[in-house]
Every structure is written in structure tokens, then in C-alpha cells.
């Protein structure tokens, strides 16, 4: 089975995020860059499917040259090769533009299955997976926590608000991962050594038949970034006993905060 994983490099979730001087991007100096956590689930699931069904796992990314680090980590986990569509830093892609670039690249890559994270934890757009499937004219299933492939048919259990739903479709398909699908493996030392020799193809937009002038005009534009109003520590509820504290907080929530 030919599997492609869509992977994005993002700031680690424990990073503090600051706004750069231009007011529309973030400070990148002190940021620790990692594979988007949901994409890590995607890499792991792809490797498990390959282990069960044979085939190969390719990692496809859109990003600056720095993204090679994240692709290399996925190769160290066990993926076979990487493809990076190089979009220089500063060229801002919105979700739809990214999906256009990915789908153009995928027209030249054989695949039966595409796996992506349900969202990237930087933009929080939830958009790239389903939009890429639409551009490729294939079905998608979002937020999958369990999948099974038999005879070209895939059955997925996905989360919905308040429960789970089981859906079925034929390959080729794109599905997105939800927390709970697996526990991603760590890259082993031999894995890291092997990854150094695995191929990573660097391509430009022109290489995949896109005109950067027309594709590169996003329909959405960030006009300003700000940090949310800082929450300040409030009142510590004092009391001689737990009972007194409990009574006091309920009284405050009822009478002052008026949330009860």
C-alpha cells in the first residue's frame, strides 16, 4: 500500500508564543520546532498500516527548509522518504493555499491512502485535510480513532461531539487522526542513523506545476495578532476549615460572580 502522510512542523505546545515586530507573525527565535502532534499520530498509523499490509510511507510537507528536521524525524520513526515543497519563510500560506499546493504535489505521487492530522496546533484551522481531499476529488473521514483496511475498503471509527460514528469507504481516501488512535513510537538510534540516508526531495512550487503568483494569493489574510487579555490571579478563598472555604466560594460564585 502506498501511503502518504501530510506533515507540518509547528512550535511545541509547551512554547510561549510571542508576536513579532511586524504584528502579523510570531517570534521564531526561541521556538522549539516539532512535528505537529496530530501528524505524529498520522506517521505512526501509516507505519502500522505498512507493517500489516506492506508498501511504503512517504512524508509530504509544505514549508521552509527548516521543515527538513521534522521530515527527518518521521523518517527516523520508519517512514521511507520525504518530499518538501519549499515555500520560503515569509510567504504566508493560509489553509486553502496549503491544500492547493499539497494536492498539486499529490498529483505526481502514487497513493492509495493519505493520512493527515485533524489540525495543526499552530493555525488551528482544521482545514487542510478535508480541503486537500476535495481538490483530489477523493472522500475523507475526519478525526479517526480506529481504522481497518480489508480488500480496498476502509472502515473508520471517528469521534463526533458526544460519541463516535463508524463510517466506511473505498480507497483511495484521506483520513485525519484524532488523539487516541495510537501511541507514536520514538525514533530509535538505528532509526536515526538510517534516516540520514533516506531521500528527501526538495521541490519548488514551479516544479509541481504551480504558478507562485496565482497560488500564493491567499483568500484570508491575517491583519493583526495580539495576545489575549492576560488573566490575573484573583482571590484566594481563605477559611478555617474546608467546609468554610466551600461555603464561601459558593456564596461568591452565586452573589458576586453570578455564575450559579
Amino acid at each position: 500500500m502506498e501511503i502518504v502522510v501530510l506533515l507540518k512542523q509547528v512550535p511545541a505546545t509547551e512554547s510561549l508564543i510571542g508576536i513579532a515586530d511586524d504584528g502579523v507573525s510570531i517570534k521564531t527565535d526561541d521556538v522549539k520546532w516539532v512535528i505537529n502532534p496530530y501528524d505524529e499520530f498520522a506517521v505512526e498509523e501509516a507505519l502500522r498500516i505498512k507493517e500489516a499490509h506492506g508498501g511504503s510511507v512517504s512524508i509530504l510537507s509544505v514549508g521552509s527548509e527548516k521543515t527538513v528536521e521534522a521530515i527527518r524525524t518521521a523518517l527516523a520513526m520508519g517512514a521511507d522518504k520525504g518530499i518538501l515543497i519549499n515555500v520560503p519563510d515569509g510567504d504566508v500560506c493560509d489553509g486553502l493555499t496549503t491544500a492547493k499546493i499539497l494536492s498539486a504535489a499529490l498529483k505526481e505521487i502514487p497513493f492509495e491512502l493519505i493520512i493527515a492530522g485533524q489540525r495543526a496546533v499552530d493555525d488551528d484551522n482544521f482545514q487542510v485535510g478535508p480541503a486537500t481531499a476535495e481538490f483530489l476529488d477523493i472522500p475523507h473521514i475526519s478525526m479517526v480513532i480506529k481504522q481497518e483496511i480489508i480488500d480496498g475498503k476502509i472502515t473508520c471509527r471517528r469521534t463526533v461531539d458526544g460519541g463516535t460514528v463508524v463510517l466506511e469507504t473505498l480507497l483511495p481516501v484521506l483520513f485525519t487522526t484524532q488523539r487516541g488512535i495510537n501511541e507514536p513510537r520514538y525514533a530509535s538510534l538505528p532509526g536515526i542513523m538510517k534516516a540520514k540516508k533516506k531521500p528527501i526531495d526538495m521541490k519548488t512550487m514551479t516544479d509541481i506545476g504551480l504558478d507562485p503568483e496565482t497560488v500564493g494569493k491567499p483568500l484570508t489574510k491575517i491583519v493583526s495578532l495580539k495576545t489575549p487579555p492576560e488573566r490575573k490571579g484573583g482571590i484566594m478563598i481563605e477559611g478555617d476549615s474546608a467546609q468554610e472555604k466551600a461555603a464561601r466560594i459558593v456564596k461568591i460564585l452565586h452573589e458576586e460572580a453570578k455564575v450559579l
Binding site: N125, Q127, E168, K221, V223, L225, P228, G233, K245
Partner: protein, 321 residues
Amino acid sequence: MSQNILAIAEQIEGVFRKVTFEALSEGRRIADQLGGELNALVLGDNIENISKELGQFGADRIIVAENSALSEYLPDAYGNVIADVIDKETPDVVILGASTQGKDIAARLSARLNAPLAMDCVAIRFEDNNLMATRYMYGGKILADVMLNGKPQILAIRPNAMTIASAAGTGVVEKFEVNTGPTLVKFIEKHLDTGKVDLTEADTVVSGGRGMGGPDFAVIEELAQVLEGAVGASRSAVDEGWRNSSDQVGQTGKVVSPNLYIACGISGAIQHLAGMSSSNVIVAINKDSEAPIFSKADYGIKGDLFEIVPLITEEIRKLKG
């Protein structure tokens, strides 16, 4: 600049989601501001009766797409029908709730229509004739103002972020002739936790963290129950296997903005704070007076949660009589 707005409603088993009323109310507000129509679209099976309700939130026309093939949400069937309706109605703005289903529809639709999308927005305004959406990024650490260019402009609004307002709309129900077109995704089965309040729509969320010490969340569940709220969990509680990952609040889980958030035994890692800091009132209960959560909470209580939480539950029971 008159703007016609189409609100896509979401119903589960014949009951509209709260976020649907929020989307309609916000749609009405935009339509009134700019002089346009607000129409609602409802998809499903046996839904004509419930559809009238949308008139109370300002819908002028209520377009009903009724078909047995739409009884369950399927991304391709729903996508095809919604695209047909948009083709016919040519709305300037499409607004819907950023629920799990709404996000899925919005994403696929943006590609189908080559239309700008603001996902999970918390505020919408007009500036120099342009629609501007405010949305969180980086799991709540950053607020971005996003300008949308193109038509239709798709707005998926975050549950609990916008107010519901009753408004008299004409509320005329009309049927849409459904053709689901070619579809590949099939529904097999579903499992819904009945009676459970959805985390993202709950007015109150009570969460437990590492301080729970194990999978027994009974004290948290009882407090959530008297408050008719939902139970959440920190990432460490989920990683320990004490709670299902669908309960996780934080940057790699759900982002919640309830009226009241009660954090029990949660130290307040930055990735958790990102997921709940837009709550209206935050209460933190923790043994450790140095826990970072206290610096973000409106009210802090230092102490043993297993002792304090049941007493709070009792006090609230008394209050509610």
C-alpha cells in the same frame, strides 16, 4: 452593501445544537447591520417539523433539505447538497457552528467553492466593507484578526462564544429538492453518550488533573452533575489513561469557553491554560499554593480536592434547594 447570509443549522436526532442558534443570531446581526436576508439551511430526515423553530432566531426563509440519505452526517452527501444550495442561493456569507461536524463541512466547502474560511471564530465585525473575523491560534495563546476576500465568505463560529438573541424572522419553510450526487462514504453505526453534556457547549466545565491520583472521578462527576455541566480532564489525566481523550481540555484537546470552569488538581501547564483561559470565571482547587493555575484563576482554593469538592457540591445542592 447588502449581504445575504446563509446559516447552516446542525441537528442531532431532531434537536438543534445550541451553536446553531448562536450562528443564526450572529447571522441576523450581520444581516441587520448591512441590510440583507438571513436564510437557514437544515439537512436531515424528518426535519420539517423542527425547522420552524429557526424562525424565532431571525431566519427569513428556512430551506429544508430532507432526504433519508441525509439522516446521518456524511461528508460527501452533505457537501454535495450544501454546495447545490449555495449555487442556487449565492449567499455572500455562509455561517455555521464550528462543531466537529461544522468544521468538517466548512473545510471541505472552502475547497469546493474556492472560498475564504475563518475557522472557529469568536467575533465578527465589518471594517471598511470587509468582513473581519477574530479567532484564536496556537491553541488560545494568540488572537488573530483575519480578513476574508472572496465569495461566499465562510464563518465557522466557536460554540459558546456568541450570544443567542431571539428575533422575529419571516420563517417561511421551503423544501429544497435534494440530489446527493455521487457519494462514497457509508454510515455503519454510531454510539452516542446519551445525557452527557458536550464539553464545548457546556455552561460549566469541571476538570480533573494529575491531582486526581487515579481514574476515580466520582467527586468531579457529582459536582458537574449538580451544575448540569460537563467533565473535562488535563492532558496528564488522559495520558495516564484515567479519562477518555475526548475529555481532554487544552492545546492538543478541546478548547472550551464556559461561563464557569472549575479546575481540580490541575497544576496549569501552558498547554492546558491555552484551552480554557477564555472561560468567563475560573476556579482552581489545588494542594500546592505555588501551582501556576492560581495565577490564572479568578478564585483559588488551597486544599485537598477530595475534601473540598464534595463540600462544594453539597453547598450548591443546598443553594438550588
